[in-house]
Amino acid sequence: MSGMSVDKDMRSSLGERRVREMKKMMKKKNAPYFFLAPMLVLFAVFMIYPIIDSLILSFQDFTEGNYVFCGLQNYITMFHDPVFWKSLKNTFIYLAVQVPVMVVLSLLLGVLVEQAFLKFRSGFRMSIFLPSVTALVAYAIVFKLLFNTDFGLVNHALTALGFDGVDWLNTVWGARSAIIIGITWRWTGYNTIIMIAGLKNIPMELYESAEIDGASFFQKFVYITVPMVKSIIVFVSITSTIGTLQLFDESFILTNGGPNNATITIGHYLYNTGFSYYKFGYAAAISYALVVIIGVLSFVQFRITKGGENE
């Protein structure tokens, strides 16, 4: 008798536990949807319609006030458009230089600013961050003054050092270099802030024990810092890739795409086609070509790095 009752008790408590566990499981199962819900609702309301609408637009031609279906014509035009290819080439030149430079520089600066002995740390952090909030007008004027061929500071410095001045904004590579310097100046600091946030996730003990083992600054950087902020490095490189491929401001403001389209970016050309030439269907087609390019690149980056997951 008693044995049976014990058995029954045990069974019921087991069952209860299972129910509780089930409940938890259910909750755990549903939880991600709950967490995602606000994002998904916003996405469904404000993104899906514009995306579909603009995708359809890329198969249409806008003439005399009407949208006319034109099949793949816009995409075919794109393949034969020398300006599109030139802007694509320019953008890839920026990309090839920009992403590695940006990642390395922002990580290094982040590490330096977070050195324990540093005084005025928040002052340094602030100054690194300032370029990303400096008004575009100020930025543009200063850059034109620095890179002016006849009276720019950069050329003054070069001639003082015994080099020839460079016709920065009026030659192909001069103008491209000016743009690359511009982007690096403007966005390194912002990425540094992101890197710092990631660096803060590294347990100090790792560095302390490495120091006991006599590791150098460089060794610590390569064997502790880099692997520990891998997911953030992935983030910075992917967002820099997207940012560079959509680059607009620098081309539009610093060089206006010139000379002879040597510095025009896809983002700038896209703007011209839509907002200046009023070829709306064509602009949409360029956009989606851009999406495919960025998508493929990001996917590759993501796969190579396994999305920065450490497991």
């Binding site: 006030g65 020398p82 006849d150 009026n170 795409g257 010139g258 002879n260 030439y277």
Partner: protein, 428 residues
């Protein structure tokens, strides 16, 4: 912490919903009041001085039509276009009156036929510069009122000319101009012309207009490899090869060069008067204007034009009649035109206004020279070019051709042929 966050969100949500009622300022329903006079609310999009001038005229207009309300939204030039682009495509949110650059009117009229109210029966086209009327006419319909104009002349530094012993009167042809340029470079070290060869095609375009040519023919077909075009481009190349041009990469760069005496001449439209005064106030008395040099001494040249604006009324407006009346009121009033010129430097397209005394006065900044007769003459003689819907893109291509020919030393005919092909492919 959590509660704090929640209350912030709630507060924000309340603010948002409160402000939601701020929605579109709708236009008033009735179009005419009891007396048959005009009424309605008119929203105007314009920029800078143009807007300021319209605001003043609106005050006067309201004395005649007290039931018309005005609502002015100030924007930059680019911003007007950015908003117009979206609003025209969706057909929503358009203003009742908008100022647009004359060169762009053909694009608006062709891309959006019927979206701008017609002025064909209101305007007397003989009263305006022919080129401005051409800008505002699409498919034989006048879809905007010509406003300020951009007849061009050659601004020059009289002090640098004097220092080099060059006399402006002696410069008749572009060849004379180049010879003078060499002397000026020799004696003063300054270039004669700011040409912006890596970023602009203005010198080439003005020369092209002088020769009666343009990117497009009357039907709107590209003709950039025409005889006139090759001739104009070769003249630019000749000037560049002499090493007497200043290559500024932007407008700001030109202003900087101006203040540093880097060049002696600017070929530009009449509105440049105000810009020079603003940019280099200490050069007062050192500037003067002459007509653009010509190609042949014995041939009477055509004038050239650059810039200037127009006023249009989107037909989606609920108060088309009042809006159109106001536009006509501002554009066809001699006093209004003179005020716009004197207060804001808006050079009229309206011929009766240009005949008034205000345009016969000398300007101290230009050493007392009566500069405006020259511009009015150029405005009357400017050819009625066809800007077409493709002007913006053609302009970019033309800039690139200039850069290729001058900076990369490519062959004039080859580059222009290639440009012609690209235009034919793109502007089908």
């Amino acid at each position: 912490m959590k509660r704090n966050l929640l209350s912030i969100i709630l507060a924000a949500a309340v603010t948002v919903s409160l402000c939601a009622c701020n929605g579109n300022g709708g236009s008033s329903e009735k179009k005419e009041n009891g007396d048959g006079g005009l009424s309605g609310e008119i929203t105007v999009w314009s920029w800078d001085v143009a807007l300021a001038h319209l605001e003043e005229q609106a005050e006067k207009f309201r004395e005649l039509h007290p039931d018309v309300e005005f609502n002015f939204e100030e924007m930059g030039v680019d911003q007007v276009y950015q908003k117009m682009t979206t609003c025209l495509q969706s057909g929503i949110g358009l203003p009742d009156i908008v100022s647009l650059e004359g060169e762009q009117m053909a694009k608006f009229g062709t891309k959006f036929p019927g979206k701008f109210a017609e002025f064909t029966d209101m305007i007397n086209t003989d009263d305006f510069f022919p080129i401005k009327v051409a800008e505002c006419t699409v498919d034989g319909k006048v879809i905007a009122y010509p406003w300020d104009s951009g007849p061009c002349g050659m601004f020059y530094r009289s002090d640098l000319f004097e220092k080099a012993g060059v006399k402006a009167e002696d410069i008749v042809t572009w060849d004379d101009f180049i010879e003078a340029g060499k002397t000026i470079k020799d004696k003063t070290g300054s270039d004669i012309l700011c040409m912006a060869e890596s970023r602009n095609d203005l010198v080439y375009r003005l020369m092209l207009m002088e020769l009666g040519g343009f990117y497009f023919d009357e039907e709107g077909n590209p003709q950039v490899n025409s005889e006139e075009s090759v001739r104009a481009m070769e003249m630019c190349k000749k000037m560049f090869d002499e090493g007497i041009t200043f290559n500024n990469s932007s407008w700001d760069d030109m202003i900087a060069g101006m203040s540093a005496d880097k060049f002696a001449c600017i070929p530009e439209a009449v509105w440049m008067v105000g810009s020079i005064k603003d940019a280099v106030p200490d050069q007062e008395g050192k500037w003067a204007v002459m007509p653009l040099p010509r190609f042949d001494a014995d041939q009477e040249p055509l004038g050239a034009s650059n810039g200037g604006s127009a006023l249009a009324v989107p037909s989606a407006s609920e108060n088309v009649e009042a809006a159109q009346e106001f536009v006509k009121f501002c554009m066809e009033d001699v006093d209004a035109n003179i005020e716009g010129f004197q207060n804001y430097g808006l050079y009229p397209s309206y011929l009766p206004a240009l005949e008034s005394e205000a345009f016969e006065e000398g300007d101290e900044f230009f050493g007392g020279q009566k500069i405006f007769e020259l511009f009015t003459e150029a405005g009357k003689n400017a050819p009625q070019v066809n800007y077409t819907e493709n002007f913006a893109e053609a302009l970019e291509m033309s800039k690139n051709s200039v850069a290729k020919i001058l900076l990369e030393d490519e062959d004039v005919a080859e580059v222009l042929d290639a440009e012609q092909k690209e235009m034919e492919a793109k502007f089908k």
